[in-house]
């Protein structure tokens, strides 16, 4: 306890300085002034009102916050907004292009969700995974989708949806 009290005694109380960043989000350029302690996830949800990206743990343990940065899937809670200068980010809001993306349609068709909270992360992760090109069969899809937890237990339907999109040929 005493140790703790000493530790906080000299802790800074002034806010950290903001930095300008330019990020392309869902095809649109955003010029933001952000403090270095703001994660990409919080910037999306709290500053840009892009709440489709979900916070499930804030520790990179659940995958609910998965977005695509320059086409690669990452946990947006584990990166800071100030590190995204010049990057191209796609969130669930930017996945559809006029009509719903085949992955979004497949998730509905196969009922690959229940509460829907992990769903944006699952869909971004699935699209990112297929772009990576490592998954050749169901077992590999299951393994490579294991960073996205679904507490409702929709896993088998998620795999069905992904396999349908994969076998539909969009990613060959």
């Amino acid at each position: 306890m005493d140790e703790n009290i000493t530790a906080v005694k000299d802790a800074p109380v002034a806010e950290p300085k903001s930095h300008p960043v330019t990020i392309n989000i869902n095809g649109q350029q955003h010029q933001l002034l952000v403090q270095p302690w703001v994660t990409l996830l919080d910037a999306l949800r709290e500053k840009l009102d892009l709440t489709g990206t979900k916070k499930g743990c804030d520790h990179g343990q659940c995958g609910a916050c998965t977005v695509l940065v320059n086409g690669k899937r990452i946990n947006s809670c584990l990166t800071l907004a100030v590190m995204q200068n010049g990057k191209e980010i796609t969130t669930i809001e930017g996945i559809a292009n006029g009509e719903m993306h085949p992955m979004q349609q497949a998730f509905i068709k196969y009922d690959a969700f229940q509460c829907g909270y992990c769903t944006p992360g699952q869909i971004c992760s699935a699209i990112g995974m297929l772009q990576e090109g490592h998954a050749t069969n169901r077992e590999e899809v299951k393994e490579l989708m294991s960073g996205n937890i679904c507490r409702c237990g929709a896993y088998s339907n998620i795999v069905e949806a992904i396999m349908d999109v994969k076998e539909g040929g969009q990613y060959e």
Binding site: E46, K55, F113, G116, S146, I149
Partner: protein
């Protein structure tokens, strides 16, 4: 003829909102000038706060106020004002009530700041000095102190065990065939993917709109109004989407209390979200220790059932669940002794968690039955069929319907059970031991009074609403299906709204009773609307004037005379002719108590599991599972299948993965994160199959709905445990069945 939707695999009507990210959850309503809260939790389990040092935290730029027990605004004085619809007997926990610490992790301070980051940082600078007292948190160290639970309102829905019959202990001792076991369950936390959050929008003096994560908007509305002395109509609680709950949303959680408190005090809108560690600082499935002693005669008929359970509760509430009542509902026995006791500990009050009590009790019951079948040298399916009953012996009432035998038949065929070698350790695949196990499931089919309103507008659209919830259960979809069928309309013209305390009354949503309760209400509202439509039609068109209600078909969005004595009249025309251009009916869906009371109403399941056990590492893998469910009418086979699949994943998790492990030196959970609280991931889930054996049951309700939320889970842990026994020849009765326990028992090397 109008298409019928009930029974069709309709895709979720809320699907598009969920896959495009437009579905908004409690922490996602961004209103202007929102302030952010962040909670500081206690780090001791029992004692008093001597001092909370706030100076450094207060100095952080952007911090507006810090609340503790010393400065919090006063709230209701009497304990009953804090009791929500699901409160167990006792005194509900009141956050920051005084300087007393009653469990580790209890909220003791809340920062409110202009940004989330400021509040979170300031919270890290709060230090606390405590006067620590000795705590008790280990159930196993205090089993002898267990006592009978207190009774209260909540116990009406959760009756205690029935009185003993005959001489169960003596008959057990004298039985030629016996099985007994001690079953240990650790604590589990619900851990829905969405963390608890409340966005409280300050609408002016004593008026709030609250976006909350809850399984009951009206429950939270009443709680907030009672605690803060606000008029009910000034408190609106909205919860359109809930990111999973599994029971955790049945009671208002502390973030609601604290966010409302700050909002009223500061006259500002406030958001307070829990973090994942804080998701381990309120209700949980309680730790339990169960003992069973079952005896059968020499032909395998059960003669004695002894089942006792000791569960933990908090020091301030007696949380109970139905753990020991199930065995005698499933298996007739002339002698029974069922006991249920509690031991209060210095922990948060336990809460209902998916299939509360059932998921716990049936593990002990169904593993003991499996062992009894082995002792009787009978196949476990045959043994269950020999002891089958259509009568619930605990109430001496027949089941309103029970297609469990058919479940066994269909699941056994699908699984290929006839190819099983009953000998433990007899089946192998490559280097792995293979085990096949089964279990039976049961859950009650309840129904509670619920209201709904149906509104037709001149554009020919129907909107039905009720303040119930959909946390992934499919309520939005199946209620729209019911309404479309009742009104004879296209599903595209029908929408169902929920999750708003301004809507007609619905109780908390749980216990598998929502579909039956809300479904009956929707049907009642549509029936009311049909009567009003006919009344209007009688004034408009001569052919309808003499018509009785039963002379009309309500189909294709209109009234059709069955005898074709005149042209049909569309809903659109009728509504257009009204002054208000709308036609409404609000009705209560009552359970038919006269019909129901002569029967026991329940769902049943038969679960067949295959496991692979790696002998060198003790790793258990569920390679395939077939669940057959008898649960009345299946409204939507697509969403229903998903609900059962979810229950099966929960069963795998309960049997093999999840447990909140406490360090009793501190009374604190050690694995309070999603990295260390093990849940199944995609790679853990293999071949799962669901079979529905439909029942035509008009006793439960007109629509024949029984409910599906719990039945998918209850039989899975024992079926897995029985499969592990078949694979290894050893019983691991201590859940979860982790590799260390399997190695101790199973490996010939150890």
């Amino acid at each position: 003829m109008q298409q019928k939707y009930i029974g069709q695999p309709v895709s979720r009507v809320d699907g598009e909102a969920k896959v495009t990210g437009s579905a908004k959850y409690a922490a996602e309503f961004n209103v202007p000038k929102l302030r952010y809260g962040y909670v500081v939790n206690s780090t001791i389990a029992k004692g008093k706060i001597i001092k909370i040092n706030l100076e450094r935290a207060m100095a952080v730029q952007g911090v507006i106020k810090i609340y503790t027990h010393e400065n919090r605004p006063s709230t209701a004085w009497l304990s009953f004002n804090y009791a929500d619809m699901d409160a167990p007997p006792g005194k509900p926990f009141v956050p920051m009530h005084n300087n007393k610490i009653v469990y580790n992790g209890q909220p003791i301070a809340m920062i409110v700041a202009e940004t989330f980051e400021q509040a979170r940082y300031a919270a890290s600078l709060v230090t606390v000095e405590y006067d620590k007292e000795e705590h008790e948190s280990d159930l196993h160290a205090h089993l002898t102190e267990a006592r009978l639970p207190k009774k209260g309102l909540a116990t009406l829905l959760k009756p205690g065990p029935p009185k003993p019959k005959g001489e169960a202990e003596k008959i057990y001792e004298a039985s030629p065939v016996k099985a007994a076991g001690t079953f240990v369950h650790g604590i589990e936390h619900h851990n829905p993917m969405e963390m608890f959050a409340s966005t409280v929008v300050y609408e002016g003096e004593k008026k709030l709109t609250i976006f909350d994560k809850t399984q009951g908007t009206i429950n939270c509305q009443l709680y907030v109004a009672n605690v803060f002395g606000l008029p009910f109509k000034n408190v609106r609680v909205i919860s359109h989407y809930v990111g999973g709950a599994f029971g955790s949303g049945l009671r208002p959680q502390y973030q609601l209390f604290l966010a409302v408190m700050a909002s009223l005090d500061l006259k500002k809108s406030v958001r307070l979200s829990m973090n994942r560690h804080q998701m381990f600082t309120f209700g949980h499935r309680p730790a339990t220790v169960q003992k069973t002693k079952f005896g059968a005669n020499d032909v395998g008929k059960i003669q004695a059932i002894n089942h006792e359970s000791i569960g933990e509760t908090s020091q301030f509430e007696d949380y109970t669940e139905i753990v020991v009542n199930w065995a005698n509902m499933l298996y007739p026995s002339p002698n029974t002794k069922l006991q249920y006791k509690l031991k209060p500990l210095d922990v948060a009050s336990p809460m209902d968690m998916r299939a509360p009590g059932g998921a716990t009790g049936l593990h002990a019951v169904e593993v003991t039955i499996d062992e009894l079948a082995y002792q009787a040298k009978m196949d476990p399916v045959d043994f269950r069929l020999l002891n089958y009953t259509d009568m619930d012996q605990t109430t001496e009432k027949p089941y309103s319907s029970k297609e469990l035998k058919e479940c066994f038949k269909q699941a056994a065929d699908k699984f290929g059970w006839k190819n099983r070698n009953p000998e433990p350790r007899s089946m192998r695949r490559n280097h792995k031991l293979i085990g096949w196990g089964i279990a039976t499931g049961i859950w009650e089919a309840m129904q509670l009074p619920t209201r709904a309103e149906a509104v037709l507008t001149a554009d020919g659209k129907l909107t039905v609403s009720s303040a119930t919830s959909d946390f992934g259960t499919g309520t939005y979809t199946v209620m729209a299906q019911i309404a479309a069928d009742c009104m004879g309309m296209d599903l595209a013209d029908v929408s169902f709204k929920l999750g708003d305390s301004d809507m007609p009354f619905a109780p908390i949503s749980g216990g598998s009773f929502t579909a039956a309760s809300t479904g009956t209400a929707v049907q009642a509202a549509c029936l009311g609307l049909r009567k009003k439509l006919l009344k209007k039609a009688q004034k408009m068109v001569a052919a309808f004037t003499e018509a009785e209600f039963d002379d009309i078909d309500f189909t294709d969005s209109g009234l059709h005379l069955k005898n074709n004595s005149g042209p049909p009249l569309s809903y659109r025309e009728i509504v257009a002719a009204t002054k208000e251009k709308t036609l409404k009916s609000k009705n209560m869906g009552w359970p038919n108590a006269m019909k129901q009371r002569k029967f026991t109403r329940a769902t049943h399941s038969a679960v067949f599991v295959e496991v692979e056990v790696d002998e060198d590492f003790g790793i258990v893998k569920v390679t395939r599972m077939v669940t057959a469910v008898a649960a009345g009418k299946i409204l939507n086979p697509k969403t229903a299948r998903s609900q059962i699949l979810g229950g099966m994943v929960w069963g795998i998790s309960k049997a093999l993965r999840e447990e909140s492990v406490m360090d009793h030196r501190f009374g604190k959970f050690m694995n309070d994160s999603l990295a260390e609280y093990h849940l199944p991931v995609n790679a853990d889930i293999n071949d799962l199959e669901v079979i529905f054996v439909e029942e035509d049951d008009k006793i439960v309700n007109d629509l024949g709905i029984k409910g599906l939320g719990e039945i998918g889970l209850v039989a899975v842990p024992p079926a897995i445990a029985n499969a592990v026994f078949h694979a290894t020849g050893k019983r691991v009765n201590d859940l979860p069945i982790t590799m260390d326990k399997v190695m101790d028992y199973a490996s010939p090397l150890v």
